[in-house]
Amino acid sequence: MSKLLEMKNITKRFPGVIANDNINFSLEKGNVHSLLGENGAGKSTLMSVLSGLYKQDEGEIYIKGEKNNFKSPNDAIKNGIGMVYQHFMLIPRLTVIENIILGIKQEKEPLINEKKAAREIQEIADKYGMDIDPYAKVWQLSVGEQQRVEIIKALYRGAEILILDEPTAVLTPQEIEELFNMVEQLLKEDKGIIFISHKIEEVRNISDKITVLREGKKIGTVDATAKKKKLAQMMVGREVVFTVDKDNVSFGKEVLKLENIEAQNNKGLKAIDKVSFEVHKGEIYGIAGVDGNGQSELIEVIAGLRKADNGSVKFLNEDITNQEPRSILRKGVAHIPEDRQVCGLVMDMDIKENMVMQDYHEAPHCNGSFLDWNYISKHTNDLINQYNIKAPSEKEEARNLSGGNQQKLILARELHREPELLLAMHPTRGLDVGAIEYVHEKLLEARKEGRAILFVSTELDEIMNISDRMAVIYEGKIMGEVKPEEVTKEEVGLMMAGTKKEELK
């Protein structure tokens, strides 16, 4: 078989980090070659080198046997590389056509022939069974549709090698199925696909070959028939336990009770529709669902960050609906926010300033209007030791911590307050396996101590392992409440795609 692509001895350094260390990678026509690895293993860096966004420090790229080191994204595009980024590179204000032809030389440069472009886009869409309106503005499209635009954009540019970077993260199981069908069709046309993921199961399903990266190094390339356990070991560097040991804890009294909550999203559309459930003392209650189905809004309503239009939130039998965040937090609610860098931490402030964000307004952290920085430093140092945060001192800026240590900082800040209720939103997202295990451990510890935990995750395996009970949310509605041991993954997947529990089977 002929090699579409060969990357030889690619090394890419960033200040202080070797993101890719002497990596070899090749792709054949009609094949799917996956890149498997944890966050930060160097998958995206390698693909950014291939797509011309980064320049490698060492190594060569060969396209169909010819040496070709790209100087720019344009260069890569011309050589048949098409990248579908995890965070779509689309401009919401522009139309589908404009997004797709952006940067391509037109026949009558600089004049744009919109009709011709629309026709060509339609042809590609029809060919692969995609439904898309070329004249629509991108912001009007759903996430799945936007992904299709990205794929068409790559194909329109004559991509022969299509890179899909974590394409399934934003899709429902059914949409994933559609995507995989499309991949099959592309393979029939002798195109090559590079599939980037950290989900072992998925990678085994779709790939011909799998290359595993860890900490910037290539661990090895194996066939898709490789055992799940072996892949996990390659990925993490040690044996991984897939199940979490949970002690049986009996639930206590009702801590959180939601009744018919309704709320809007930032666009003023209904995001939460009549959501009701309750969480008990000593219980982990999971909210499963594809990203963007109202999880953020739901948690924000409970935390007082978003107005509930209807319904009530009760905390320990007290109505706390639409109270100020501060007053809710002070009653004994803690919050691990969804994105630690965006809403959890102030990246260019130091550890102690981040650590005290919930406590600063109460003695002994302050004295009247003034803060007691000596006390705060001491207190912070205690927590750094207790939660095993790796940092030179409490004066280190949060941005200099690794993702795992940033999350530990947040865990320390929230859990040391001994809350009655913990809102944990994607607490393991973007972490390496070691840190994920630490977070799970802490959550289970909190459960044992009798805290009520509301746990939001999009990772099906994780949520089914951790939760005592769980609800599946779809377009702001609860599709049903289940016990993880009583349902299959497929059933939960269907609920995530909008099937009600009663409609199952």
Partner: protein, 310 residues
């Protein structure tokens, strides 16, 4: 009745004239703003253009040479600004403030050196009127639209041209993409830095020419601080005009009309508080920004440097 009509006609004729520098700088600003660059240094760029224009016209004894010099000097100021904010990634707003302070110092100093202190400014050639045959004889609008200073026509012509460039060509598409989402534009193969450099240089050239129209069109000499906030009004016009050339034309005419009335009131020595008229553009722009009149929609990456990791 005839008198009132006459007054309105005269005001409107004056309006086109006072609106022209705002329009020129405003169109220049659209190119920059749409590419994500907020250049509050246009005020200073216009001032430098005003000086360069009058000095160029004086030296070459030809007003069009003056305009050319103003355009080139404006472009140079734009290139310096571009280097600071694009290559070095200095803060756009503060750099703009610095350009304004620098411009006042430079033009005042140069004016005193080149034209001397305490002497009345020399008369320099100025832009003449062009009367379009037949069209200018149409009652009312003939004198208004077809008997104007030649630069007015050029400025008006820029409006449809700019609109066409923005929405019908790849150049405009690139500019709009870069201003909204530079990284997406980069991955699609657009050279973000190149687009930003050229829009800044081209936009600043127009601002320089707009300034030169003050010293060679409306007046025929340079006076210190003669731009007097018109750069900021142009900025206001761009926002009020929702970053659209036609909108900016409308805003410029509206703001210029206030200016024209204000000049007339002051010239008459009347007691009518003309200051409120001067405030109108600023007030309207604030209400537009607040979404009280229509909804403005600024480019998403406004005033943000593009940092490319390599």
């Amino acid at each position: 009745m005839e008198n009132i009509l006459n007054l309105i006609q005269n005001l409107l004729i004056a309006d086109f004239r006072t609106a022209t520098p705002i329009l020129l700088a405003g169109i220049g600003l659209i190119y920059m703003y749409r590419a994500g660059i907020v250049n509050i240094g246009v005020e200073g760029t216009m001032l430098i253009g005003a000086f360069a224009g009058s000095y160029g016209a004086y030296i070459f004894n030809n007003v069009w040479m003056g305009i050319l010099v103003a355009g080139i000097v404006g472009g140079i100021v734009g290139a310096i600004f571009a280097f600071l904010i694009i290559t070095i990634k200095a803060d756009q707003i503060v750099t703009g403030v610095a350009i304004n302070i620098l411009a006042i110092g430079l033009t005042t100093t140069l004016n005193r050196i080149l034209f001397g202190v305490n002497t009345s400014p020399p008369e320099i050639p100025s832009i003449g009127k062009i009367s379009l045959p037949y069209l200018s004889e149409i009652p009312f609008i003939g004198r208004l639209l077809f008997n104007q200073l030649s630069m007015v026509y050029l400025a008006l012509l820029l409006v449809p041209i700019t609109y066409y460039i923005f929405y019908k060509t790849t150049i405009g598409l690139k500019i709009r993409a870069v201003g909204d989402h530079p990284k997406a534009a980069d991955t699609a193969g657009v050279n973000v830095f190149k687009v930003r450099y050229w829009t800044t240089i081209f936009g600043s050239m127009l601002a320089g020419i707009g300034g030169a129209f003050l010293s060679t069109g409306i007046l025929s000499f340079f006076t210190e601080d003669m731009v007097a906030g018109r750069g900021f009004i142009a900025l206001a016009a761009v926002i009020f005009g929702n970053w659209n050339p036609w909108g900016v034309l409308g805003a410029s005419l509206l703001f210029g009309f206030g200016d024209a009335i204000q000049i007339r009131i002051q010239a008459m020595g009347s007691n009518i508080p003309y200051q409120f008229l001067i405030m109108v553009p600023y007030l309207l722009t604030i209400t537009a920004l607040a979404g009280l009149v229509g909804k403005v929609n600024p480019p998403k990456a406004s005033a943000e440097p593009y940092i490319k990791e390599e």
